[in-house]
């Protein structure tokens, strides 16, 4: 099926089977391999992307369901010039080790901070509970997200 949507500000058109998930479409059709796939059944959060600004698991949405949507992947949250405030904060607080889960944490944290720049530590922990990290123990990630709040306040 021919499906058109927007990814990181660019219109794309893909010809895919209905069974292809958005996660696989991004990685294999569009070569946007920043989105990682862990569990493929909606448990680990590694494949989180933004669909019309909202964080969703891209393994639990079909590519054909993205028709007309605006998708933002982790690639769309960075620029070539400099690290973003969220990326800087992750580096400063050692919020990653192996990095496999990091794209999911960045996209989730970006959605949270955009919607709720005044969230407290409990809210950050509650929201990040949908993402699994097997290295850091989460403390650094929570600290990084809390510090990045300042950059999202208007």
């Amino acid at each position: 099926m021919t499906t058109k949507f927007e990814v990181n500000g660019k219109q794309v058109s893909v010809d895919v089977e209905p069974r292809l998930t958005l996660a696989d479409c991004l990685r294999h059709e569009l070569r946007l391999t920043g989105t990682h796939i862990g569990c493929e059944h909606g448990v680990c959060g590694a494949c989180t992307v933004l669909v019309d600004g909202e964080a969703v698991r891209s393994c639990l949405i079909l590519a054909v369901q993205a028709e007309g949507a605006k998708i933002t992947t982790v690639e769309g949250l960075s620029n070539d010039a400099d690290l973003t405030p969220l990326q800087k904060s992750f580096r400063k607080h050692h919020a990653l080790q192996c990095g496999f889960c990091t794209p999911g944490f960045i996209t989730t944290a970006h959605a949270l901070l955009t919607e709720e720049p005044d969230c407290d530590a409990d809210r950050v922990r509650e929201v990040l509970s949908g993402n699994i990290c097997r290295c850091t123990g989460y403390i650094g990630i929570v600290d990084a997200v809390l510090e990045a709040r300042a950059a999202y306040k208007k």
Binding site: P18, V56, R57, V64, Q65, L112, E126
Partner: protein
Amino acid sequence: MKLPPFEYACPTTINEAVALLANHSGEAKPLAGGQSLMPMMAFRVAQPSLLVDLRKLPGLKEIKIGPDGVRLGALVRWRDILDDNRLAAAHPLLKEAVSHVAHYQIRNRGTVGGSCAHADPASEMPGIAQTCDAGITAMGKSGTRTIKAVDFFQGALTTALKPDEIITEVHLPAWPEARRYGFQEFARRRGDFAMAGVALYYDVEGGKAANAHIGVFGVGDCQRRLPKAEAALNGKAVDEALAVKVGEAAAAEAEPQEDIHASAAYRRALTGTLTERALKAAAARPVK
């Protein structure tokens, strides 16, 4: 795992969607938020030949609040419920229950209709539907009908829905302002499936509990009310001693299952403890 192959349709009217389901003799499935159906397909628990995507159907995304209660369109997402400030007064028990549903990303996609049609025994929404005597409206090729929650949920992943029927609305009867309620759920990690959960409410008449509704989820193969525990609550003034007694009645009445997550005895004890806590929370909550 990757999903098994299937065909996909995205109709723009509900009649068209019903016709697609009816013409596939039980092999087609409606797709709402997909937060349960997609994992089921990844695990090959479900292998529909056709997915009928409901996302373009009009009129299913509204939350209507009126004198007769709250009407949730089938495509209302958990996030929509949490974001709707009117529900804090119109149905605080629903709002509290939904805050326990899965995780942030799931709540951005998962729907009321999808959760009821899926009927996972540990899900919050069917628990609220049972506790609150919800009416579930479905449309099929022979028309529209409203099914009482008690008749709708028939067992684990089993409902009264026919293969050609699509849920359109879940109706929760009106919520009096002074009603007292409690909601308790226990899982090892936040967002996990409940090992046991309790949703309850009662009204106060002359200082005593009346119209008690106590429902459990994650206990047994289906969400259900506990009439004996309700009888132990009705007509009595709620204090700590009564909360303990009603908890004991709930534990005795529950029909818990055993699985890798917990033994039946543990779930029974949890049911008692959670009922007791929910009742204490209900009694302690300030009422206008």
